[in-house]
């Protein structure tokens, strides 16, 4: 018997159990096309593992449609809607958050709300201000289900850099002392945009305004110090700020090649994982600005016209299983921090997390400092637009 008796009993006690049983039956035999960014081999391998597990347990196969940008899946759903294909769509599940989620939610392209129907949702803190309920300040309202935690971190090679900058403001003197050794992904990529957002939060006079939708007046006032800082920083960037790596993976490759000294990631475990994979030198480590860094939650959502909605829900539910989350948090597997609320876990599940192995380059949650809130999604759009207007010539 896989499940402890207490767990089985608590399953029986769930009011939606009958509905869920129907979902499980409808899902059997379905193939879920999970559209997910495919640039990370470990994530791809984890998705493969999820597919093996759900097939063995629930008869639900998972195929990853590998994207080079999440927006591809959004465009695909829009194209299907344009063609009047309101059912039997090709996208069953999307790894999504932030502006892509906002766009799909506003256009009515999502199925749901479905999160509350998932039996494993009981392990989540779904309070109105909890990170699992708000995506870039946009209320989730059950339209997407969380699966992994993301925290913005920098990585560097201790063999080349003795003292990394301790705040975004300190990047300026650091870059002056080390011209050409710093860059960030292109802001049209979410990681590049996050670098700018992190700087904005630290440099702006009142970070509170970032939680409300952007207005012209607020934008001008809030971003003025950011642009001053960036204008001074840019001449000392890699390639003189003329070109930028396409995404964080390319930048990690630049760090490995020794072309730059600092890389960034939305996954605190990525550095340890990359060392284990031979993609970074053993001496690579993680650092975060002293005031903390931006954190958010990665979600999965189901398009309104998905052909295999039940299968997609089964996968979303499986992702929230404490055993799945512990497997995911294992540094030897993926190393992404769990989205579950530790207070809601039973002793066995807690022990599963406590038994996970560690790695020298894996930071502890304490070392990561406080989590800063993502600004409202409209800020990111406005910020990258303005960056392009200023620096794309």
């Amino acid at each position: 018997m896989k499940f402890p008796l207490a767990l089985a009993l608590s399953l029986l006690a769930t009011p939606t159990l009958a509905d869920w049983q129907e979902t499980l039956e409808a899902a059997r035999g379905q193939t879920v096309y999970w559209n997910a960014w495919g640039g990370d081999a470990r994530t791809n391998a984890f998705i493969d593992w999820v597919g093996e597990q759900t097939e063995a347990r629930y008869g639900v196969r998972v195929e990853q449609a590998k994207l080079s940008d999440t927006a591809e899946a959004v465009t695909r759903v829009i194209a299907e809607k344009a063609a009047g294909q309101d059912e039997g769509g090709s996208v069953d599940l999307i790894w999504i958050n932030g502006p892509n989620f906002l766009a799909m939610k506003e256009q009515g392209l999502l199925h749901g709300p479905f999160v509350a129907d998932l039996p494993n949702a009981r392990y989540l803190d779904l309070g109105p201000t909890s990170p699992a309920s708000v995506d870039f300040t946009v209320p989730v309202e059950g339209m997407e289900s969380p699966w992994r935690l993301a925290r913005f971190v920098f990585s560097y090679d201790t063999a080349r850099v003795a003292e990394p900058p301790r705040s975004m403001a300190e990047f300026l003197p650091w870059a002056e002392a080390n011209p050409g050794r710093l860059t960030h992904p292109d802001p049209s990529n979410f990681m590049g945009a996050t670098f700018l957002k992190q700087a904005l939060i630290e440099l702006t006079p009142d970070a509170g305004v970032l939680q409300a939708p952007v207005t012209e007046a607020a934008f001008a006032a809030a971003t003025a110090p950011l642009w001053d800082w960036y204008d001074a920083l840019r001449p000392n960037l890699w390639r003189g700020g003329e070109t930028y790596p396409a995404n964080e993976s390319v930048q990690q490759q630049l760090l490995n090649d020794g072309e730059v000294d600092i890389a960034m990631s939305f996954d605190p475990a990525s550095t340890a994982a990359a060392i284990a994979d031979g993609l970074l030198p053993e001496s690579a480590r993680v650092f975060v600005p002293e005031g903390g860094s931006i954190g958010n939650v990665s979600f999965v959502a189901i398009p309104f016209n998905a052909a295999n909605k039940e299968g997609a829900e089964v996968v979303a539910n499986f992702l929230l299983d404490p055993a799945t989350q512990a497997h995911m948090q294992n540094i030897e597997v993926l190393g992404s921090f769990s989205v579950l609320d530790p207070a809601r876990l039973d002793a066995a599940a807690k022990a599963g997390f406590a038994a996970l192995p560690s790695a020298p380059a894996l930071p502890t949650l304490d070392a990561l400092g406080p989590t800063l809130l993502e600004p409202h999604a409209s800020w990111m759009t406005r910020l990258t637009e303005d960056w392009a207007r200023r620096y794309v010539k």
Partner: protein
């Protein structure tokens, strides 16, 4: 014209028009509508110029346009000059067969795979820099933009590594129709230098034979996406890359200006081709005056040697790129400034095995299906021409070239919407169809010349012996043409393997091929896994070319006149 001939001709024409031309027209129509504000899915149904205003307001558009024109026109013109110079310098010294064999790897390797390899070879932390590092005393890679440079030079190099061999092959095949040795002798006897004979006598005859392929190269260079993502500038990128980005913007309303941009891309290619036509007309006038002046002129010899040296350098860089892919796929740690990997491992092959086996399977199915379908259609077309005893009209030639001249980004989004409306998307058949749009023209072009060059006496002899048209086709033409038919299939396979955008759009991301995986992975950080995919991606067409060379040699091992005669 026999009745049968007319029926076959009608059927072939209908298949080509409905199967190949109609989808492109449909796609252009949908894109065009969106460019003028009509996209019902977003609730837009009034005609407006707003998408164009939005497009014009996008930052960096002017730079993108300039970059596109400079890299596209620049690489095409340079490739043409280099290929011509190289031909002039070595044509007399090298047989066509040797030339074709040397060029095969460059023709076979898909743009994306080559770009991945080149990015490593040329980068400041790449292979060339590592060779120089001990001499220059670099402990860290120099901060010079040798790839993704803001002028697009690396992109031009990448394009030229692919285009020069293609043009060389085209020029070599054109030269086989011209009595080069005799004209050269005559020209030399009249006191013209070797290079001048080439420019004044040979090339004017070659140009009409290679005009269309040059247009295809130009259209391709102006609208390439995968190679431009990997090697080109990023801030801003070329127009085609910018369009791909805008089509996948989080804000769906961006589809409207992106569609306007796609129309602009089509116009840009049309203008560039028009420019080439204008240059040709001007060249004709000036050329005649120049020819009649009769000047023996200076020696063009240094130019020829410079061109040859440049071609050899390009090939060497291309070779390094291909080798680097294989080495990376077997490496574990390989950091700057190591010239050779510090540790090797088969993990990249073993770890990604499930992925690459599936991608390889899909790629094989797609390549096989599109090559066979395209070949069947091409043979039917050529046979219909034979039976109708007609040569090809100019409009028919235009039909064949159309899919290669219209930029893919211009109609693929619209075509996807069209396919979805008839309930045909996301499946392998949709991808086969979409790929066939681009595979068929190449197969057709590759097969046309050898088919026409078939000795008519053989057919007449067969007819005199009582063989009907069907038997003449099956028992005489196809066996004799086995080699060119297999070569055309190999080209078809290579084109199919390299297709990126059609596979991505029509397959709804579900049909993973070696190319879609390689391009996706090249946006990641693991060169080793990318190396696995790119190696396979290059190996597959290469195997097809090899088979196309070995199978006829074996089948015709006791037919001396067929072993290498007709190609």
């Amino acid at each position: 014209m026999s009745h049968e001939g007319r029926v076959l001709r009608g059927v072939v024409l209908a298949v080509v028009v409905l199967g190949l031309i109609a989808p492109i027209a449909l796609g252009l129509w949908q894109t065009g509508r969106a460019a003028f504000g009509i996209l019902p899915a977003l609730g837009r149904d009034t005609l407006s110029l707003e998408p164009w205003r939005d497009l014009a307001a996008l930052p960096g558009l002017a730079t993108s346009l300039r970059l596109t024109l400079v890299t596209g026109l620049g690489s095409t013109v340079l490739s043409l000059l280099l290929a011509t110079g190289f031909c002039a310098a070595v044509h007399a010294r090298m047989s066509n067969a040797t030339g074709a064999r040397l060029l095969t790897p460059f023709l076979a390797i898909p743009h994306a795979a080559l770009a991945v390899g080149l990015a490593f070879v040329l980068a400041p932390s790449g292979w060339i820099a590592r060779l120089l590092a001990p001499l220059a005393g670099w402990e860290r890679p120099p901060d010079i933009a040798t790839v993704n440079d803001s002028w697009g030079l690396a992109l031009m190099v990448g394009l030229m590594v692919k285009e020069v061999p293609f043009l060389l092959l085209v020029i070599l095949s054109a030269l086989s129709q011209i009595p080069v040795a005799r004209q050269m002798a005559a020209g030399r006897a009249l006191g013209y230098g070797r290079g001048i004979v080439w420019i004044k006598i040979i090339m004017p005859q070659v140009w009409p034979l290679i005009r269309l392929p040059v247009w295809v190269v130009l259209a391709y260079a102006l609208s390439v996406v995968d190679m431009a993502i990997i090697l080109g500038p990023s801030n801003p990128p070329t127009l085609a890359v910018a369009l791909t980005r805008w089509f996948s913007d989080p804000d769906p309303a961006m589809i409207l200006p992106a569609s306007a941009g796609a129309v602009l891309q089509v116009v840009l290619v049309a203008l560039a081709v028009a420019l080439l036509i204008g240059a040709e007309a001007l060249g004709k006038r000036l050329g005649r005056w120049w020819l009649r002046r009769g000047g023996r002129g200076l020696s063009a010899e240094p130019g020829l040697w410079a061109a040859s040296a440049a071609v050899v350098a390009l090939m060497a860089v291309g070779m390094l790129a291909m080798v680097s892919l294989l080495v990376w796929s077997l490496a574990w740690r390989w950091s700057f400034p190591q010239i050779w990997p510090e540790s090797f491992s088969l993990k990249p092959w073993a770890g990604a095995q499930r992925g690459w086996m599936r991608a390889l399977g899909n790629t094989l199915v797609l390549a096989g299906a599109t090559a066979v379908l395209s070949l069947a259609l091409a043979i039917a077309w050529l046979e219909a021409e034979d039976r109708a005893r007609r040569s090809r009209a100019a409009w028919a030639e235009a039909l064949i070239y159309l899919p290669l001249l219209v930029p893919q980004i211009g109609f693929l989004y619209g075509l996807n919407v069209g396919f979805l409306q008839v309930g045909l998307s996301g499946g392998i058949w949709a991808v086969i169809w979409a790929q066939a749009l681009f595979v068929f023209p190449y197969v057709m072009i590759a097969l046309s010349d050898p088919w026409r060059a078939l000795d008519p006496r053989m057919i007449r002899a067969a007819a005199a012996l009582g063989a009907g048209p069907g038997r003449r086709l099956w028992a005489v033409k196809l066996p004799v043409l086995l080699r060119p038919i297999l070569t055309a299939s190999a080209i078809g396979v290579a084109v199919s393997v390299a297709q990126y955008l059609p596979t991505l759009f029509m397959g709804a991301g579900r049909v993973a091929t070696l190319t879609t995986e390689a391009v996706t992975l090249s946006s990641g950080s693991d060169r080793r896994v990318t190396g696995v995919y790119a190696t396979l991606q290059a190996a597959l067409p290469f195997a097809a070319y090899l088979a196309a060379a070995l199978v006829p040699a074996w089948v015709h091992r006791n037919r001396r006149a067929l072993s290498g005669g007709v190609t």
